[in-house]
Symmetry: C2
Subunit: 183 residues, 2 copies
Amino acid sequence: MPQPLDVAFIAGSTGTWRIDGLNALKGDSLPTAARLEVFEGAEAAKVQDGSRRLRGVTSNTRYTKREEAVDLASKQADLGRTEATRAVLITIRKSAAWWDLAQDERRAIFEEQSRHISIGTEYLPQVARRLQHSRDLGEPFDFLNWFEFAPEHTDAFNEMVGRLRQTAEWRYVDREIDIRLSR
Amino acid sequence: MPQPLDVAFIAGSTGTWRIDGLNALKGDSLPTAARLEVFEGAEAAKVQDGSRRLRGVTSNTRYTKREEAVDLASKQADLGRTEATRAVLITIRKSAAWWDLAQDERRAIFEEQSRHISIGTEYLPQVARRLQHSRDLGEPFDFLNWFEFAPEHTDAFNEMVGRLRQTAEWRYVDREIDIRLSR
């Protein structure tokens, strides 16, 4: 695994991705815009703070066991595939009750109860993804979840997030915004 | 658990703590100085970047199980005790090999093999401590470990870190600086 990668998402009048919809599923919404750009590494670090900027960092896995990591690595696709002209950014904050849990309690809810890794794995390689952590950066969300897929896999993607949103883990989500994008 | 707390450690000519020694046990050293100040929260966020500034954030536990957390909480002391006129800042970076491990592999090395939590618990409440995470902030170290104790517990503290440095976990430490302080 490489060192943590800074990633910044900037909403504005320009950007690679067109914002097709922004849906605040829980908690306060965000200002919308016409387009979104994604900056990585040194470029992300140069981005100015502001209300239309979300920032996160890729990091080490927090719950994934070795056998799960091997399975994921054998199935997952990279970001940036030519055919993946749809993207979704799902911004998540979890409650204090979640963060108060010990590591073994969070793991048990995340996977043994909610099958988060297992459900996600079913949609590989069609849905490519990258998780950015934001909580320790003092950001408004704890996680910025980025997904890319071809238009014909939109239904599968919706099914996946629908299943995850019914899990025990999701009862700890206290703010969630689902941003649909295309290019 | 409160939200993550920003903490900044600033070496310079002023500060609450006198720097009595700085020992680079592994990897490159740091510039030393006469004194050290610790800033928290909004004050930490205002501190300018620079070569004499280390920054971290308290965060959720990463390896601790519920029964361990309950045991720690029942025994540990707060920072800032009047009698705790000795402090130690141990700055740690772990290797890529460590961060490449899956969660269950890191937990097994951390506690089942190295007894990191168990060893630390033996020295409670004499040695108070707080862990700051730095890796996801793009800092030179992954962890900033802060300890406070009364002078008569210095030998116990040295015994504790001596035991930890002989563990399997410590084979993944590739930079470590031990900074001794008094007030």
